[in-house]
Structure formats: C-alpha cells, structure tokens
Symmetry: C2
Subunit: 247 residues, 2 copies
C-alpha cells in the first residue's frame, strides 16, 4: 500500500510546531526519577523502528530496494537521518548495504537459513538446558497458551507471533540481556522470509503440539530431555523452511 505520506507517528509533519511541554510539566509532576526514564528516542531511532515494523509486516519484501530520497519524503525526515537509521538496520542484518548502489532488504539464501538455525540451536538449547526461575517458566507456558488461543481463533498471524514469543521466552530463561537481544535479532531476521512460508495456513499449527510437550517437560524439570526435544524441533523446522524455499 506504499504507506504514502503518513509521516512518522509522533512527529509533526513539518519541523515547526508548538513544543516545550515535556521537560517542564513532566519533570515537575512526576519528579526527577520519572523524568530520567523518558529519554525520547531520536528521530533516527524512530525511523529505524518504523522500517523494522514494515519489514516485520512484510510491506518490504526481501531484495526490495530502499531509496534514501523516497523514504526521506515519505517519512518527512532528512536524508542524513535516514542514513543513520540505515546504519542501525544494517548492523542488525535486516538490510544490506551495497556501496554506491543502495540498501536492500536482506535476503536469506539456503546457507543463511542454516546459519540462523545454527545460532538458534546453540542458544535456545543451552537456555532450556539451564532451566530458569518459575516466573520465566511461566512465561514459556503463557506463550504456549497464547499459541493455542490463536489457533482456536484461526488467526495465523497471531499464531506466528505466539510461536516467536515461545522461543523468545525460552531464551529469556537465561536472564541475559545480550542473549535476549541476539535472539530478538535472529527472530527479526527470520520474519523477513516467513511471509513466504505462511502461505501454507497450517505451517505453524504443526508446532503447537511440540511446544506443548517441550513446555511440559520443562515444567517437570527434565531439562536435558526438554533440550533434546527442542533440538529435534529446530532441526525439523529448518528442514521445513528449506523445503518451502529454494532447496
């Protein structure tokens, strides 16, 4: 739908617009502690966030070119700022820079898919083998239920995100900021080519039982067994992905 001239949410269409409310009122009303938390994200960050969103929603398909001037106009932001956002996204591998040629939505060839799954096997399996606090385990359970609800409602989209929540929750067992962001990035990369896979409406549905069993095993404290199940699951998933995409 070309997203048109929507502009960035929260940004005035043009530069000039009444301001100066935030620091004064918020600071006085909420106290200094709250004020520190509010640090508004920069425009570049918001641009990156917006693009990340469009990427996740499949509005920008792999291989698509992101022209600086176009995005600059669409979002009402200067080219320099766009470039800063591109630097962020490139660091996350969501986008690839071809010098002097432009930036393109990343494409994942067969080798890349295998690589992504390798990362997932390393991190997810280790995470589940390490177990986690009751709260974290409960979060895994919640993701499983979320998936069941989505399946009952026949909402494929929700099913997909529930599945990602499930795997995110598994990594979160480790309580590691870095591992969480690594996992988040890997999942974001996968979303890039999931759109193709989702053509089969039953793609995720087959995982529901696996998730349930893995979760139950985890809850029972059989960590090594849970790890084995998860490993099998990931191998199977990679296989299916490979089938959907060019061998």
């Amino acid at each position: 739908m070309t997203s048109a001239e929507s502009g960035l949410p929260g940004l005035p269409g043009s530069i000039a617009a009444g301001r100066s409310k935030a620091s004064g009122t918020a600071g006085a009303a909420l106290g200094s502690a709250a004020r520190l938390r509010v640090a508004t994200p920069s425009v570049a960050d918001r641009v990156a966030a917006e693009l990340r969103l469009q990427l996740a929603e499949g509005l920008l398909l792999p291989g698509a070119r992101l022209t600086e001037s176009t995005i600059s106009e669409e979002l009402g932001v200067s080219r320099n700022t766009i470039r800063e956002a591109f630097a962020e996204l490139a660091a996350e591998r969501l986008v690839v820079r071809h010098p002097n040629r432009g930036v393109f939505v990343a494409t994942l060839g067969p080798g890349e898919i295998h690589d992504v799954y390798t990362v997932r096997r390393f991190i997810e399996v280790s995470a589940i083998r390490g177990g986690g606090s009751p709260e974290r385990v409960a979060a895994v359970r919640a993701a499983v239920e979320e998936g069941k609800a989505a399946a009952a409602a026949d909402d494929e989209e929700a099913l997909g995100t529930a599945n990602q929540h499930f795997h995110g929750a598994i990594v979160a067992l480790a309580e590691s900021r870095r591992l969480n962001t690594i996992m988040a990035q890997v999942l974001a990369e996968m979303r890039l080519f999931f759109h193709k896979a989702t053509v089969d409406a039953h793609f995720y549905r087959s995982y529901l039982d696996d998730n349930e069993k893995i979760c139950k095993t985890l809850e029972a404290g059989q960590l090594d067994r849970a790890g084995d199940l998860l490993l099998a699951y990931l191998n199977n998933s990679e296989e299916k992905q490979r089938a959907v995409h060019g061998d």
Copy 2:
C-alpha cells in the same frame, strides 16, 4: 597520546587535496578483477574501524566521552559521517549513546561482565561440544601454540590476543558466520576492560595450561569432556575478572 591530527589512514588530511588518483591508477595497475573485490569501505566505516582500534588499544578508556566535533576535526571528517560511525559502534555495544549528552565508551559493570560470560558459556561450550573439521581443530591448536610462544617471549600483549584467538577458534568450529561475529563482538567488548586486568602480568599466563588441556581433549575427540573443561575455565575466568574489578 591523544592521537592528534593524524587524520584517517588513506584520507587526505583536509577535504581539498589532489584527487582522482585512487580509482584511476589502482584500477589500471591492478586490473579489473582486483578492482571489483576492493569495494572501498565508506568513510564512516573507516572512522568506525579507527575508533574500534583505539578502543582495543586502550587509547579510549571506558567512560570516556567521544565529542563529535573533536573527532570530526582530528580525523578530518564531517560530523554527519562521525554520527554514522557512532551508530555502528553503538550497535556493537562498544559505545553508549546518552541522548542529548553524547556518546561514551561503554563501561561494563559487574552485571554486564556476568552477562558477557553467560553469552560465552552458551556459545563456546556448545561449539566445542559440536566438534569441528580437522582444519578448525588445527586452528585451535595453532592458537594454543601462539600463546605458548608469546609466553616464552614474555609478550603480555601477544598473550592476550593469542588467548582471544583461542576462544575465537573454538567458536569457529561451528562454521557459523553469525556466531563468529557475535563472538567477535563479545571479545571486543571484553577488550574494553581488559586493560585494567592486564596490570597483573601473570593474568593470562595461568590460562596457558588450561588451553593446552582443552585443546588436547578436543583433539582426542572427547567433546563432552572438553566442554566441561571449557565451562570450568570460563567460570574461573569470570571469577578472576570479578576480583580484579569492583565486585
């Protein structure tokens, strides 16, 4: 030594200076094939590389502030380009951005150190348990020998890098591009506060035997045992780091 007005290697000190040599001569002298491979990194990338280097060498200590205008002048590069470089470094966590306040060399508190080691435990231990091709194992062995040589030569600096090569080689067993870059980033983060640890000249030396034993176990194909040894090593290392820094 403040690095002064050296400018960026390969960049003319100021903007105006004899030009047009690069593409012409290089292209003609090296032939077209070479030219294609060379895809010159952007100025922003070179700035990032230069800063990464200064960070690794301890010229920029944790907490230090990186002022845009200062770096801009020192390197003879525009502020906008500096900002792009900052975006890269921030994505690698080498640098932290405080909105409206500036970017600072990242500092690793106790919690962060634990986090870094968590990532290493996950990735390195999984990698060694998975084993690798004879060439990759040989690379691990090479890193061990590199360390011994450095110890013999009493070169603490070389000892440190050899140690990093050792751990990099272990992750490389997995043949995963993503895992390699993740590990490289984590090691870069650690270099940030290694400088403090290196005060003790015998800091790395104690690891030499561990590395040798781990490597030998790996070569013998006793992967699980090697993993256990590596895990113990990492726990021990974290402990020592914690001791050196304010616990």
